[in-house]
Amino acid sequence: MNRKQERSPLVPVPSGFLMREEDVDKTPVLEIRHLGVDFGGLVAVEDFNMALGRTEIAGLIGPNGAGKTTVFNLLTNEIEPTRGIIMIDGYDTRGRKPHEICRMGVARTFQNIRLFRNMTVLENVKIGLHNEMKYSIGEAVLRLPRYWDNESISDMRALELLSFFNMQDMAGWKAGSLPYGAQRRLEIVRALATNPSLLLLDEPAAGMNPSETVELMNNIRRIRDEFSIAILLIEHDMNLVMGVCDGIVVLNYGKIIAKGSPEDIMSDPVVIEAYLGKADQ
């Protein structure tokens, strides 16, 4: 395990975001420059800039309708940006299909869980491992050794990933029959199965009670440490955001209104105003 005990201090990088000192010289896992998208005449996201270090956990927060999920959809090219550049590991994502973005190393979960409910837990994870399977349709039909080898390796890998959340015993269950919390965890496992370098979590704590949220925070840190990946999360639960994120971006009306460490954000008057409204004087 490459668990990092001591993490280096945060330093600002040119895009205005904070990055761990150790990550500064490396290609950022994610770099966004002047990203913007219009829906018809409506500007949904405007001049969005950020960079994310290789093992960073960053939070994307903002009031409802601020454009947070739109940013996620832009990152996976489900929505094509009108302006700006997104770079994953230094590679431009323009014109790539969502499945190609996935192969570039971006995986995500969804605000409203979107598992393949009629498939088993194991099959869901194996869908994430889809691209690792190397056998042709002919080999599958004839059940040649390569079919069995690939299938058993991917079974093992899927179980190993499930054991990360202690879910290996549920492998045979229908995904739709899992309890809510387990479904959320399975979605994360399925995303991790695609071997990402950047994991996008869309409201991972939605519907969780405080003790489950604490567990989730630990899990997010464990994912970062054991898989050595960057995580960008959208979340309304401020305890989670403040507790787990290295850096935070605050979005309102499609624009970044603040960026910085949790401490900076919590005391930023612009952020407080966006969330609570201006105090009447």
């Binding site: 996976t76 489900e78 299909k97 969502p98 499945h99 973005i101 996935c102 192969r103 995986a107 995500r108 969804f110 979107r114 598992l115 393949f116 409910r117 009629n118 498939m119 099959e123 194996k126 869908i127 994430g128 889809h130 691209n131 399977m133 056998y135 349709i137 599958a140 039909v141 079919y147 690939n150 299938e151 399925r190 995303a191 199965a193 695609t194």
Partner: protein, 289 residues
């Protein structure tokens, strides 16, 4: 004729319906489109097999040519006609499918004329079980269909590509974000459906040896009824629906009159839609908004 003979005939015709219904259901499952051109792919497959046999090719080669042609045709139709409309309203897709169907029928009429051609006998003989005569055509049809259906089920359940198909049919967006190439998966679905249609075409022509441009229309619609009856989008549903339609048709022809067969088939559709809109094995679909 007696009951058992009618049942055997029913299973014979029903398994051909089932093969065609599988094509409807796989395509519906994955792109939520009722591919009205599917019946005309059968016609295309029948013509290819007919000309290949006419040119003196061995049966196996003729069937292979027919399958290959239909696979390519199905994939091209999807690429050219349906793919550009995938994100548009479903009604545009449906109209396009009807358009493609008319295009294929009329193109065939232009090229081959409306005169029916006699499909050569490729399966001969039969045998007796006691007093009962069973033709080889029936045996071959039932065995070939059963093998194909079992193979397809295994393919969809246990292979990587099959799992990708199921994932795309459950949630296309989530599937592509897991790295599944949706375009490739949809092409594969059309390829498999059209390949099955080609084999169904040959089997159909073995029992009803006439090839003509509109042969796929009514046959395709009846297979579609089978698909709806079994549960649109469901693979076992296609098999159940196909067999039910086949048996119902055979019993009607045997005990009532051939004239009534189609009427009975379509009243089955109406009754199913009234009692169980999702079909016998279909799941209730809750539209997400």
């Amino acid at each position: 004729m007696n009951l058992i003979n009618h049942l055997i005939n029913g299973i014979h015709v029903g398994s051909i319906y089932a093969l065609v219904a599988l094509g409807y259901n796989m395509v519906y499952g994955i792109v939520k489109l009722i591919n009205f051109a599917h019946g005309d792919i059968i016609m295309a497959g029948a013509y290819v097999a007919f000309f290949a046999l006419d040119a003196g090719m061995p049966t196996v080669v003729a069937v292979a040519a027919s399958v290959a042609f239909c696979v390519v045709l199905g994939v091209i139709i999807e690429k050219v006609a349906y793919r550009p409309l995938r994100k548009s309203a479903k009604i545009s897709l449906l109209i396009t499918a009807i358009g493609i169907s008319l295009l294929l029928e009329n193109a065939a009429q232009k090229m081959f004329s409306a005169t029916p051609r006699l499909f050569p006998k490729i399966i001969e003989g039969g045998f007796y079980i006691g007093e009962r005569h069973i033709s080889m055509t029936t045996v071959v049809t039932i065995i070939v269909s059963a093998v194909l259906m079992a193979g397809l089920t295994l393919f969809v359940k246990t292979t990587n590509a099959g799992k990708a198909m199921r994932a795309v049919s459950e949630d296309t967006e989530a599937a592509q974000l897991m790295g599944i190439n949706v375009d490739k998966t949809i092409s594969m679905t059309f390829a498999i459906g059209s390949g099955l249609a080609a084999i169904a075409a040959v089997l159909y022509c073995c029992s009803y040896p006439q090839v003509y441009p509109t042969m796929g229309a009514l046959f395709g619609i009846k297979a579609f009824v089978a698909a709806v009856l079994g549960g649109i989008g469901s693979i076992p549903g296609a098999v159940v629906g196909g067999l039910m339609i086949g048996i119902a048709e055979a019993l009607t022809k045997g005990y009532l009159s051939s004239m009534w067969a189609d009427a009975i088939v379509f009243s089955f559709l109406i009754i199913t839609l009234l009692l169980r809109p999702a079909g016998i094995l279909g799941k209730k679909v809750v539209e997400k908004v």
